[in-house]
Symmetry: C2
Subunit: 242 residues, 2 copies
Amino acid sequence: MAGEVRAQGAVKSGQLDFPRPLTTVDVVIFSILDDKLQVLLVQRPAGEGEPFPLSLALPGGFVDIARDRDLAACAARKLKEKTGVTSPYLEQLGSWGSASRDPRGWSATHAYFALILADASTLTSDARWLPIRDGKLREKLAFDHGEILASAIQRLRNKVEYTSLPAYLMPAEFTLPDLQRVYEIVLDRPLEKSAFRTRILSADMIEPVAKMRRGPNRPAQLYRLKKNSEPVYFVRTFNPPE
Amino acid sequence: MAGEVRAQGAVKSGQLDFPRPLTTVDVVIFSILDDKLQVLLVQRPAGEGEPFPLSLALPGGFVDIARDRDLAACAARKLKEKTGVTSPYLEQLGSWGSASRDPRGWSATHAYFALILADASTLTSDARWLPIRDGKLREKLAFDHGEILASAIQRLRNKVEYTSLPAYLMPAEFTLPDLQRVYEIVLDRPLEKSAFRTRILSADMIEPVAKMRRGPNRPAQLYRLKKNSEPVYFVRTFNPPE
DNA sequence: ATAGTTAGTTGTACAGTCCAACTTACTTAG
DNA sequence: CTAAGTAAGTTGGACTGTACAACTAACTAT
């Protein structure tokens, strides 16, 4: 058994004579759709020897050392392949590696998480959006992807508490109530309107455009992200989340 | 060239017919020594075909799929091997993978960072502590370990701003001024005594022991960490660090 | 005109940091 | 025995930003 595993690894100089784990990259892609936080998932293929056939899984796959210069490029490629989106917010989430997470052998995955505007994406046929409800996905996922997703949700919620990350989920032009709504969707609790406005407006991250959003009631000022585009870190969270 | 690389990878079913990157784990081990933040580094071996011979590097090495159940276990093992410490604060930092970071081929490392009490450790002969000055290490490191270390320092400073992480750098019993000093060493700036005390004491993370630290002036109350031992997250940072 | 709805503002309360002065408890020098 | 020195720990006022709630503003629909 150990011999078989070893046969897949390197055998060259003494140094590299180590069986190598499988190396993959997976991407947790979030968007706001239908007023809900949703995550992009794909269906596993059904082929011979495929683990978790037809299960839902995070988009991802093996690192292609001929094509991928580095891990981030690999993650960006996978995001692009599934959604067509090229310039999202993309951050490394962490890595998961163990003997047991993939039936094909010791494997390690490098997980990324992305925030994109769903409207700007054109999905491949095997991909679909699934809503996060009560901070969880209802469906079971292949591998340890459920754990990875849970970790991504936690990280997202955490950071939304004290950063401007939701800005990356917004269209080019948006109103402050729009943005607040996205914060509230992610955090799943209401925020104070006046404190929210103070925080965002004093952060120097958005600028008004010379237009108003008109609707059945009072028009709202439209804003856009300032050029710099780095996320802003606030020095306080909102309500002490207990 | 691609053929040679490919020869090191898996060749079995179609799925696994991917050349596999080298997989390593590296650990950034911090401690407070001599009133400075220090990091544990090792000297690279000088053998035939060794990359960066005799350079300083982070402790780490290949994942041993026969011994390491998962990545965290591998990191804990490497920490144990170098320092003898078994129950530190150990958190994943991220992963770095690219075609160019290791001359031996496409490689990915899973980086961890640990906070330990240096006094409790017994180093191996190739390991030594080096001080962080002005938030940087003066020495150049092998591979991309300089970048990984910089990232670890940034993460540590960031988290120290709003968590109780420095508690893991303290001996079993310590005073509040001791703890404040460690915060100040890591952040490299003075903190307000009264605000510091208010924050720590209201966090329910330490409890007084029935002893005082005696010295040439007013004795100070000794405390110890409460049992739960999870790090505490505060809802504000200290001074807006600009 | 009036009611309804959402955008946006205002004012008071409160929490926690910032800053600085203060009190307390000890040691050491005279 | 007292005085000076020092670090521990406390206190109070200024300031910042959120919490809460009431308010005004701008529009649509009836």
